[in-house]
Subunit: 267 residues, 2 copies
DNA sequence: CGAAAAGTTGATCTACATCAACGTGCGTGG
DNA sequence: CCACGCACGTTGATGTAGATCAACTTTTCG
């Protein structure tokens, strides 16, 4: 852990993410800025959270990649999801005491830390933010459920194609990919652990996609050459990503509710 | 769908679930009772929600079993989780428009329905309930993540043992199991779809557990004879279930926050 | 520049899938 | 009341996707 410092309030990834669900008000912006006041850097391959240990502060990813993973006693490991800027680590930790998973950085990373009590405060004072966070959580679950479908019912080739398309879509939304090209700061071993494959088979599967001309890989750069075909191989249906077609949807919901409220109560 | 009727407010599974996180206040109880006012019955093997279709009302499971599942275009299917009394279906549906999964009843079922707008109202008026629901959602995600670990890294035998132990633990908490004995209203095909196995291999795997004397099966009744060993085979570590050791934990969190509030704000 | 980490490839093995057949209980209609 | 059909369970034979083992190359990095 390095460099703890205060920063001026400004648009952060979390801010932008929540801002895509609802028009943030000044007091909400202020609260978020305050939550993200303390920023800390961590080098690659550092544990931000360890399975079996107590939760500490809540963390907001500001920059870099991490992975959420679980391990069996004998060392077998499953990567549950990748943590991208704007994602939150351990938001409900005042309720769980011991972590059932680890979070490890993949790149150098900066995260904001705040005390778990602030979450309670947030629920009390900023219901709109609370709803937005709950929504973000639901979206994450949808991604994990889709990965479950992959591991349960897709072949190695399909899984791999699917994951690459998913990452491309997610990264494009946050401007971390363009022209089908993005950085995947991950070894084949980690990829294998995300897809439930052996390293060797992971390697061969990537090779098949490369040989088929669907993707190009050099170093950690991946380029998707034929998105249409890759998505088709992976049976990719982006329903589950719930990318927002009607932005500020939450805003509308809250507006509507405000109108209804007194008329409907205990009807 | 049959029998829509109003019922007198009383302890429902949802009520009991949230009540284990915090001491419900009268107005909170009132609101919950109102949410669950309209109760509807459905026969077994009915879709409560269909992948690809619009969400309708929010539903609270009151009685019976259902499953949450996703399908690939070619028919391959993955059961994501089992839905038990007290679980909520589609709680954030005012935010997603199209369902990325289906929910199908396994037994005859009664569910309560309410309009998605009520969720917004709940966030505005009852922050403690909102937090409790968010927590419940996080617990569900933990279960899905653990299943992901199973499909990715556990063998068929381990997965199966793990799932049986998990169900036993979850059902025991809500008094739906005793002495290691419970009803699993599920065909081997559905079990296979939950564990990412073929029907045939599911059958053989169950047989191995039976032959080993770890479980007994007749009809839909499962009896766990040797929980210790079954848990060991499944590498079961109940961390992820987050069964409550410190009940009313949320209560404490809210109490603490109330004290802090003014002193800390914008410190 | 040297060592460790990561990637690659071939040979072999195996857990699980697929195919095929048959048994069993049960609801329904003749 | 029987029989027919159908859903579900069971078991054996065989096929295969992906694991494991082993060796080697390339890249990374101190």
């Amino acid at each position: 852990m390095t460099r703890a410092r205060a920063i001026a309030p400004s648009a952060t990834p979390l801010w932008r993410k929540l801002g895509s669900y609802l028009e943030l008000r000044d007091e909400e912006k202020g609260f978020l800025a305050e939550l993200e006041r303390i920023v800390v850097g961590h080098p690659p391959r550092t544990d931000l959270l360890q399975q079996g240990e107590r939760y500490g502060d809540v963390r907001v990813m500001r920059d870099g990649w991490a992975m959420r993973h679980k391990a069996l006693p004998d060392g077998r490991r499953q990567v549950v999801n990748f943590v991208l800027p704007g994602d939150i680590i351990g938001i409900y930790c005042n309720l769980f005491d011991v972590a059932d998973h680890s979070v490890t950085t993949l790149t150098a990373v900066t995260v904001a830390n705040f005390a778990p009590e602030r979450v309670v405060e947030l629920f009390q004072r900023f219901p709109r933010l609370a709803a937005a966070l709950a929504w973000a959580g639901a979206k994450e679950e949808a991604i994990v459920a889709e990965r479950l479908l992959s591991l349960g019912r897709r072949t190695a080739l399909e899984r791999t194609a699917h994951l690459i398309v998913e990452l491309l879509r997610r990264l494009t939304v946050v401007n971390l990919a363009e022209n089908g090209r993005f950085t995947l700061p991950v070894t084949q071993e980690i990829l294998a652990d995300a897809l439930g494959l052996s390293i060797v088979h992971m390697n061969r599967t990537l090779r098949r996609l490369r040989d088929g001309g669907l993707i190009e890989v050099n170093g950690q750069k991946i380029t998707v050459n034929d998105l249409r075909q890759l998505a088709s191989v992976g049976q990719f249906d982006e329903l589950y990503l719930h990318l927002i077609r009607a932005p500020k949807r939450l805003d509308q919901a809250f507006e509507a509710a405000r109108g209804d409220r007194d008329g409907v109560r205990l009807a």
